[in-house]
Subunit: 155 residues, 2 copies
DNA sequence: CTGCCTGCAAACTCTTTGCACGAAT
DNA sequence: ATTCGTGCAAAGAGTTTGCAGGCAG
């Protein structure tokens, strides 16, 4: 989905929910879709302010749930204390995250069996799965063996 | 492993690391092993205080890493804001968690393929897996269809 | 005009830390 | 006697919220 199509979807979602189309919400949307990587709320705030410097931290936190509910953004909580966000891509519910503990980079990998697993396991408990996540924490082999990582810019 | 064996393991771990065997640490240990369910740091504090009312919140937070490093306790972060802890059982690294969103209860299910998956995915990225987690969020079918859940005491 | 939305700052939750006293070795 | 460990309270990080004023519809 192109960014124009996504922006249109955002505007119609706002209209449909009776929410107002403010310049701040649009700036946050544009900031959110200007990056393909994972970012924190704080980073999103910085990006949004580069577009519209009137955007406040509070509005970022108030807008994030709207973007998530409209399926335009995905929230990724990998247990680092702060949450990460990422523009939603197709099939986004079936991805696993791999966190490199050396550089804190998050990689995403397709995990098509996850949904099946969630259903199988939940049904045994009389539950209906809502979402599932599969996360791997890992260390960089090259960094630990040769002292430097070809992917990491941090170390 | 019996609680006596676990307590012995805890004492020897402390000795081996040059850490002191204090009454507070023992009270926290006993509180941690007096429950089989998941509990929060706050709940652990309450249980520990029932055994030794001199235990403070700070000491609970300072003792938790020791219990985890010694593989006596497992930390479970299911994204509810606070972390949960549980006495470690055999094969504890290969369990998936199922969270009931209606009662916040955490169920654990054996997931023997998780470790294999972590290795497979990590190796493609030049990473070595350290740990992995598979978590399912689910709703209670009975509660939503019949208005009450046979498992939940909360609702 | 109406009332939703905003920025600001304070509040909040969970966890960590500095300090001086107290207890294990 | 040494230190390490402790309780207390304050600090910290990330996020949420109350309020008075501002802008979309």
């Amino acid at each position: 989905m192109s960014i124009e199509a996504s922006r249109a979807k955002f505007r119609s979602y706002l209209a449909q929910k009776g929410l107002r189309t403010t310049s701040q919400r649009l700036a946050i949307f544009d900031a959110a879709f200007g990056h393909q990587e994972h970012y924190t709320a704080e980073e999103l705030l910085a990006h949004a302010r580069a577009i519209d410097d009137s955007v406040s931290r509070a509005t970022v936190y108030r807008t994030l749930p709207i973007l998530i509910e409209s399926n335009l953004l995905r929230e990724v909580d990998i247990g680092l204390g702060e949450k990460y966000y990422r523009a939603a891509t197709a099939g986004g519910t079936q991805v696993a995250q791999v966190l490199c503990l050396d550089c804190d980079r998050i990689f995403e990998i397709s995990a098509p069996f996850m949904e099946w697993y969630g259903s199988t396991v939940s049904s045994k408990l009389g539950l209906r799965p809502v979402s599932q996540r599969l996360q791997v924490r890992a260390q960089c082999i090259a960094l630990h063996q040769q002292g430097r990582c070809p992917n990491c810019t941090k170390k």
